[in-house]
């Protein structure tokens, strides 16, 4: 589908002239066992329309019942985002006709969200922290999924027919809405990305969702507007829907800044509308125009009693909240004794879990960092894969370091062992054995090599015997060469001196 050509202003130029204001809505699918309002399962990839009940199909007569687990998860999220938790809140119906919404209304929360008035501190890659104000986090149900068959690339336009899969319909969602995010300037794209990334990490830490962007567990709608100066009133915003990767979030923000700046530069006005992001081109295109015609006729859901979480329950949930990612990072940095810069590198390399597990398996903090941020980070970069996807486990790294610490191999051999593990030759011990890389610790072969070296260089032997220890290195070198580096240099030195001095 060919989008009409759009005028764009260079991003830096646009930012120099306008102050961007962000607003982000994030939907997260909760990993509850059953749906928001019925006992249907929620497994991903199930046969279409197999995870349904009369309730999630919206059959006449069916009634919703609130999933208590989903409420607990929503409260966890609210607490993690420093929100207040409502003492009582109602669900509301959002009325609109669309085939993927089985009842032709969505059960959501409107003016009474379960969590409100919070904030989230978001850290950028260089360590700058922005505080994002959270307006609300509310519960709702997901819609089904339309598949348009025939026509142009799965789009509804020109399709021969459409299929609807209601497996997703009714899966619990929490929608988190920010207040306008101001004062971010040219860092708007980074802040948007880091905000969603931070949320994703929190969802995982809270164990409320698998939070996999590629499966649509986490979906972001990015609102953006420009204004001449930070003192000006807010400009007209656009809402770019379903931006489903971190990279895309940055791109969508950059694109909208450039596009809106071009409109404003030309003296035009930005239209308040929904826009779609295209992964392939990194551009957004116009969707529905938002207007007064869009009236969802919200009213309190009469089929459901209000949700009134007791203060005791909320405090119980607060007390059992797991450690959140930011706190964990601070704790681990202190435990490990890494510098700010070292820690940031670890975080940016997404190696924090790997290092933690390696240390837990017995390696020193310095040792774990040496491997993961050195040889392994380099390999990941060369292979263009995530460091966690390398063919080596933290336990294997710990085993490797243990071999070095035990003197079974030296650092140089360890690198070869690592290469063997990454090549799929087995664990470190296996590679050492198969490749015959173990340090020669049996004195027999070493003495033979020493005698040979001394015999080959009698003058050096004499010098040593005369008390001049300088040339010992030459003998050690020869022995190392003869043993292909598998000798322990310290032991060789001892043996040489013993031999020469005839002890």
């Amino acid at each position: 589908m060919a989008a009409a050509p759009v005028d764009l202003v260079d991003f830096d130029e646009a930012i120099a002239k306008y102050d961007p204001v962000l607003g982000i809505e994030v939907h997260v699918e909760l990993g509850t066992r059953t749906k928001m309002f019925c006992a249907a399962g929620v497994s991903f990839g199930a046969e279409p329309n197999s995870e349904t009940t009369p309730v999630s199909l919206g059959l006449p007569g069916s009634l919703p019942v609130v999933n208590g687990e989903a409420v607990e998860y929503a409260i966890r999220i609210g607490l993690a985002l420093n929100c207040k938790i409502a003492e009582t809140c109602r669900f509301a119906r959002k009325n609109y006709f669309y085939p993927d919404v089985p009842k032709n209304y969505q059960i959501s929360q409107y003016d009474e969200p379960i969590a409100y008035d919070g904030y989230l501190d978001v850290e950028l890659e260089d360590g700058t922290v922005y505080r994002v104000e959270i307006e609300r986090a509310h519960m709702e149900e997901d819609a089904g999924k339309n598949t348009h068959v025939g026509g142009d690339g799965g789009r509804i336009h020109g399709a021969a027919y459409s299929l609807v899969d209601y497996n997703r319909a009714g899966i619990p969602l929490v929608e988190i809405v920010t207040r306008p995010i101001t004062g971010v300037g040219e860092r708007a794209p980074e802040v948007a990305r880091a905000y969603v990334q931070t949320l994703r990490d929190i969802f995982r830490a809270l164990d409320v969702s698998e939070a996999r962007m590629e499966r649509g567990n986490v979906r972001a709608d990015v609102n953006l507007s420009l204004r001449p100066t930070p003192e000006s009133p807010l400009g007209t915003r656009t809402e770019t829907k379903n931006v489903n990767s971190f990279r895309s979030i940055e791109k969508a923000v950059r694109f909208e800044v450039s596009r809106q700046a071009a409109i404003l530069d030309a003296g035009g006005t930005v239209i308040q509308e929904t826009r779609h992001f295209h992964e392939d081109t990194g551009e957004t295109s116009s969707g529905r125009v938002k207007s007064d015609a869009e009236d969802y006729r919200y009213f309190p859901e009469p089929d459901l009693a209000p949700v009134s979480p007791s203060r005791e329950w909320v405090e119980e949930i607060r007390a059992t909240l797991p450690e959140l990612p930011a706190a964990r990072r601070r704790r681990l940095q202190a435990d490990w004794g890494y510098s700010d810069l070292e820690m940031r590198d670890v975080i940016n390399a997404d190696a924090i879990d790997l290092i933690e597990t390696t240390i837990a398996a017995g390696t020193s903090a310095a040792g774990a960092r040496k491997w993961w941020m050195g040889e392994l980070a380099r390999t990941a970069k060369e292979q263009d894969v995530a460091i966690a996807d390398l063919a080596i486990t933290p336990v294997q790294v710990a085993e490797l370091q243990q071999l070095v610490d035990d003197g079974k191999i030296n650092d140089k051999l360890a690198r070869q062992v690592l290469a063997g593990v990454l090549a799929g030759e087995g664990g470190p011990a296996q590679v050492v054995q198969d490749r015959g890389l173990e340090v020669v610790s049996d004195d027999g072969p070493l003495l033979a090599a020493i005698d040979e070296a001394l015999a080959a260089q009698p003058d050096i032997a004499d010098k040593i015997r005369g008390g001049n220890l300088g040339p010992v290195g030459a003998i050690i070198g020869a022995v190392m060469k003869a043993t292909r580096g598998q000798a322990d240099a310290g032991r060789v030195r001892e043996l040489v001196l013993e031999r020469v001095n005839g002890s």
């Binding site: 009369p54 006709f97 009469p302």
Partner: protein, 504 residues
């Protein structure tokens, strides 16, 4: 025997079944015969499920042979209003839009009815989606009033009331959103109960207005209603608005009432539900019943519920608002009727539009439009919001009244059964028929209608009793006492005075 059993009350039929004097198959067959004989004149049923009923009856008989009697009404057949979903049995809500729809599940009350061993004879007629007071809005034809075939049987549950009054079934299920159980009971000389909101599960009731709908019994005696109410009532985890508390003992209350003694019971007559608009014969019958209650020892006072006159207006905002949303799911996409536009592209939106245009009747469309308007941005506060405030005031009226009296009473409907077509072109006149029944729905309190005699036009009049929420037992105590006093006066049930229907 089989020719007579249909005239017996459900309790009497159950007794014969339990003692082995009659089988459930015989009871079902007798009623199926009666249905076949009088349906051509009445049209009380949309669908008669003869085979299903007989199969259920055979099972109940087999259970009895093993010494199992699953409930005090086991073996006795029942009719179910066609707005309650029944697994594998067509359910239409009297609408074209659901013609031929076979639900894949049972409503909770249907599960309970089956578990209690009551064979289901079929599905009764109603105003489309229960919207109406005359059953004239059914897409499947009018139901006639057994007292006068030219007249309406009330609505929306005209089918259930007519079936019971005409001895086609001893028991029926109705649903009451603004009076749809009580008003049909009143105009057909039968008994109908709207339980406390939340007292009976709504799971499987095709919703009109979720905050008002409630299913309940339609019978010929107060005791039969109590027996059926105990079977269908109680907490249901599938309905979040159902009350998670045990029901009061209703049968015991009815039995206590039947002793005829109401000493110490305080009865309040609602001043606002009388006078102008009430037919003379209706008021006269009501007064006679008050005399009987007084004679039974009750203390009768007049009570004012000052906000009741606003109830109708509030109801006609809240009900259509909820209905407009509840009925959105009927769109031709997943079940029921699907109509494609005659010309132009076949898009989902256009199919929805064509389906709804063709599938819904005028009254349903009227209420959807009204409700959509009342909920729209900019009008919400003025309409839906204000109506909810009135609702709160009406609830307070009840609370205040029940501080001084145990039950409130009024005529059930201002008039007796009117003729077909008389109010069809005047929706407001039609709506006024529910003026006395609506306050109970808005407040969620229970109500009963039982026959109090005939008006000067020879047609039945209903007497309404209202009790505080969760005090449904009071309806049965006072209702049974009045029933007893009236029957003593008449020398038998009112329905024995009904004209015999011509039997084919």
């Amino acid at each position: 025997m089989t020719s007579d059993v249909t005239r017996l009350s459900a309790a009497e039929q159950a007794k014969l079944f339990a003692s082995g004097e009659v089988s459930s198959v015989e009871l079902v067959t007798a009623h199926l015969d009666r249905i076949e004989a009088v349906e051509p004149q009445l049209n009380a049923f949309i669908h008669v499920s003869a085979e299903v009923a007989l199969e259920q009856a055979r099972q109940v008989d087999a259970q009895r042979a093993q010494g199992e009697i699953s409930s005090p009404l086991a073996g006795v057949p029942i009719a179910v209003k066609d707005i309650v979903v029944t697994k594998d049995v067509v359910t239409t809500a009297a609408s074209k839009i659901l013609e031929g729809w076979v639900p894949p599940y049972d409503a909770t009350i249907v599960e309970k009815i089956k578990a209690a061993g009551l064979p289901i004879l079929g599905k009764t007629n109603l105003d489309e989606f229960a919207m109406g007071s005359s059953t004239e809005h059914s897409a499947y034809g009018n139901t006639a009033n057994p007292w006068d075939l030219e007249r309406i049987p009330g609505g929306s549950g005209g089918g259930s009331a007519a079936a019971v009054a005409a001895f086609e079934a001893p028991l029926a299920i109705g649903t009451d959103t603004g009076g749809s159980i009580r008003q049909p009971a009143a105009v057909t000389g039968s008994v109908g109960v709207k339980p406390t909101y939340g007292g009976v599960s709504r799971y499987g009731l095709i919703a009109m207005a979720s905050s008002l709908d409630q299913a309940g019994p339609v019978t010929r005696t107060v005791l039969d209603s109590a027996l059926l109410h105990e079977i269908i009532g109680g907490y249901d985890p599938h309905d979040s608005t159902s009350i998670n508390e045990p029901l009061p003992s209703l049968v015991a209350a009815a039995q206590q009432g039947a002793t005829g003694d109401l000493t110490g019971v305080r009865i309040g007559v609602v001043r606002e539900l009388s006078g102008e608009g009430y037919q003379v014969g209706v008021s006269k019958s009501f007064e006679e019943s008050l005399d009987l209650l007084r004679a039974a020892g009750a203390e009768i006072t007049e009570v004012s519920c000052p906000h009741f006159p606003s109830a109708l207006s509030a109801y006609y905002l809240i009900m259509p608002s909820e209905a407009s949303s509840n009925l959105a799911k009927f769109d031709g996409m997943r079940f029921g009727l699907r109509v494609e536009p005659e010309d132009g592209p076949v898009t989902a939106e256009r199919v929805m539009s064509a389906t709804r245009g063709a599938g819904f009747g005028d009254e349903v469309k009227r209420r959807i439009i009204l409700g959509t308007y009342a909920l729209s941005a900019g009008y919400y506060d003025a309409y839906y919001g204000s109506a909810q405030k009135v609702r709160t005031l009406i609830q307070r009226d009840f609370t205040a009244a029940f501080e001084n009296v145990d039950v409130l009473v009024s005529p059930t409907a201002p008039t007796t059964a009117f003729k077909f077509g008389e109010k069809l072109d005047d929706p407001l006149a039609m709506y006024l028929n529910d003026v006395a029944t609506i306050p109970a729905n808005l407040a969620g309190v229970p109500g009963i209608s039982l026959p109090s005699g005939l008006s000067d036009d020879g047609l039945p009049v209903g007497f309404q009793i209202l009790a505080p929420a969760k005090a449904d037992d009071r309806l049965y105590r006072v209702g049974a006492a009045l029933e007893k006093a009236l029957e003593n006066k008449w020398g038998g049930p009112l329905l024995s005075q009904a004209p015999e229907l011509e039997v084919k």
